[in-house]
Structure formats: C-alpha cells, structure tokens
Assembly symmetry: C2
Homo-oligomer: 237 residues x 2
C-alpha cells in the first residue's frame, strides 16, 4: 500500500524547526523505531551533514532514526534497502538535478509502489508531483528533466499563499499558477498552505494540519476550497 506524507513546509517563523509537522510524522511512522533514509540534496546553504543532523535531532525526539544518503557509497542501493525515505526542503531545481543525475527516480518509485513510507516537505513534496512546474524556487541550476516521481495525480504548489508585497510590480502567486493552468489545462493543481499536509494511504487521500483548507484551482477560475479530512482527486474531473 502506497504511503506518502507530504508537508507544505517544515518551518514557520516563531516556532522551532519542524514543530508543527512532528506529531503527524509520529503518527505516520508509528510506535516502532524506524530507520529513515534522508535525502538532503535540496540543501544549498547548509551542508548535507548539518542538514541531516538537524533533521535527525527532530526525528530522535519522536523515537526514530535518520541516516543521510550521502553517507552511502551507492545511493541507489541505499534506497533499495531503506525502511522509509524522507526528502527535505530547499531548492527543488538542485534536488531534481541530483535525483536525475544519480538515476534515483525509478528506484524511489519502485520502493514507494511496494509500500515503503515516503515523507517529503517543501521541495520533497514537489518531488512526488508529475512535474517540477509549480515550485516556488529559483532555477539556480538546470536539471536534466522537470519530470517528478508522478506519485500524486496532481500538482502541488507548496507554501501556498496569495499574499503579495505592497507596491511591488511582480506577479502574485495566483497569477503564476493561472499561467501554469493555461499551458497545462489537464493537470489538476492544489495550493497547499503552510502547516498543511497531504497523506496518501493506498488510494485514500487526506488533508491534515492546523485547520487550513487547501485550494483546488479550476480552469474556469471557479476555485474550490477543500476542508481537512478525506478527499478524492477523482471527484475533481
């Protein structure tokens, strides 16, 4: 059974790192100690060691272990053998560049398809989408491909907000996403607000978090807010 936990974000200002998401990760992984393989490739301004340590410090407080993929000689093999996988946030382009270069996409998909629990936040949640198209990140490197794991049948825009900076001429988030929709009218799109996550268990989908709705973007601009709880992407048409 497919098991995904996809967080919009790890941090919010004024709370400790990963604070809001911790109880959900705890529920997701269960009581028994799990050794989670961590992919820190999205990190740019933090070393893989530091990043892994930071995440490890969080997971250890809920009784689980983190080990960084960069500590293995053969990352593909590390994925084949891990009990659970987590991909952290950072720069989605940098992450995709490395996932494609190291040929990890197929390996990860095989493991997810055979029931290995997968966790992602921010860039790590973008990874399971069909494409990279709806990341908010700056394209600081060129990945070989914009193709993602395709484990979700829709695109996520993480850190979703339509707030904008007063007096600034740049596009709002909704304007950017409307442009995505114009060029890809057949791909469903969800705006996942901060402190929200999507959990997938087999063919069941749940929105969880701190009470925010998520936004289903419609081609006819008749967007729909979806409440927390179970939802079914097949209802979206």
């Amino acid at each position: 059974m497919k098991k995904l936990l996809l967080l919009s974000n790890s941090s919010i200002p004024s709370e400790p790192y990963f604070n809001w998401g911790k109880p959900f990760v705890k529920d997701f992984l269960g009581e028994k100690k799990v050794k989670v393989l961590f992919i820190p490739y999205a990190g740019v301004s933090i070393s893989f060691d530091e990043y892994t340590k930071t995440v490890s410090d969080v997971f250890s407080t809920i009784g689980h272990e983190i080990v960084g993929i960069h500590e293995f000689k053969n990352p593909q093999q590390a994925i084949e053998n891990c009990d659970a996988l987590a991909i952290g946030g950072g720069n989605t382009f940098r992450l995709f560049q490395q996932l494609h270069e190291l040929n990890l996409i197929d390996s990860i998909n095989q493991r997810i398809n055979s029931g290995m629990p997968y966790m992602g936040w921010s860039a790590g949640s973008n990874t399971v989408c069909p494409f990279l198209f709806t990341t908010n990140d700056m394209p600081i490197v060129q990945p070989k491909s914009f193709i993602g794991l395709g484990q979700l049948p829709f695109q996520l825009n993480v850190h979703y907000t339509n707030a904008s900076i007063a007096g600034h001429g740049g596009e709002t988030r909704d304007m950017r996403l409307a442009e995505f929709q114009l060029l890809h009218p057949n791909i469903n799109l969800i705006g996942l607000r901060e402190c929200s996550l999507i959990e997938v268990r087999g063919d069941k989908y749940f929105l969880k978090g701190r009470g925010n709705t998520m936004k289903l973007f419609r081609n006819d601009k008749n967007h729909k807010e979806i409440e927390e709880g179970e939802f079914n992407p097949e209802d979206w048409g």
Copy 2:
C-alpha cells in the same frame, strides 16, 4: 556599437503601463521613427496580438512603431531584418523555451553584436544574461536550455526587493540569490530594483531610473549598493 536598454519592470501599481520607462525608451531610440520588432513570447495570459497592441500603444506615443514577430512566417528572418528589437516581460521559462526552439538566440546575438538596438523588460532583460538562473518566474514549462544571450557579463535579478510576506515560511529573495551565488561563485550578480534600468553603449554601462541604487551581491556577503550613473563591471573583480 552594442546598444542595450534593460528595464527591471514595465509596470508598477498605480501608474499606467510602461509609464516610468517611456522617457528612457524615447531617449534610447532617438528622434527618428524606428520600426521595432517585438517578441511577445513571454506572454502567457495575454495573446500575442493583444500584447503587441498594448506595447504598440505605448511606443506610438513616443513616435515609434511596433510590429509583432508572430506576424512573420519566418521569425529568424524577421530578426535579421529588423531595425530594433524589444522583448517583453512575462514568463522567462516560456520565453526561453520558444527562443531556443525557434533557434533565435544566435540570430539575436549577431544583430546585437552588429549594433542593432535591443530593449528588454523583466523576462526580456533576463534574456541578455548569461543564464536563466536568476529569474523570479515559475518554471511552468521546461526550456531546452537555461542559456541566455550572454550579452551582459553578469546576472540580473529583476524586480529586485528583499521585502517578504509577514509570517510566511518561504525564502526571502536574498536567501534565494545567496543560494545562486554559492553554486556559481564566479558569476557576478546584480539586484535591479523596480523603476531601474541598465543601459549598455559599447563598453559603457549606466544605471538609470527613478533614483534607486542597484545591489551588487558579493560572495563574502559584503554587498555593495551602486548609485545611478556610469559603472564598470570590470571593477567588480
């Protein structure tokens, strides 16, 4: 002599379209009526016809003519024959996708190198940079390449601001640009604020606009504000 006019933005809230840039375009093109070839490829939520009409309405008030490249059977030939070229803002990924697919990069470079005046704003200013890496746009399509015209010896971040949305967990602009710098320490980077432009005349560079400084990002984070007037990128090391 190389002639570039690179605007950070076309619009700001509360002023008519292209209002702030118009006097600079007027100076740049001169008194004699110029027929300017316009590339509207960055436009996504506006048709090429509408976009061209909007720009044409502005340029006609300063005595110049606009003709859209999409009206020509052979866009490469249109570039070879035009008196001046303007590339408008919109989505930089969409723009690069089409410039690379239609093989227009070399043609535009040849014309710029032989003295044809080039104007760009927003995505059209990103185009002359070495790479697409520092655009703020959403990667709604995958271009064949992130390589730009390379007419500027540095990267621009247009619409530059470090303002951020209160309470939001996403990266600030400076955090994004710092990540670019970490991966590309040998490429100089300029934050070009709204209502600012860079004019290039041969080997001379000028910052113009409404009085804002531009920000030179330094690898050691000792960033430098550069005042309006002439500047020399060779001084940056």
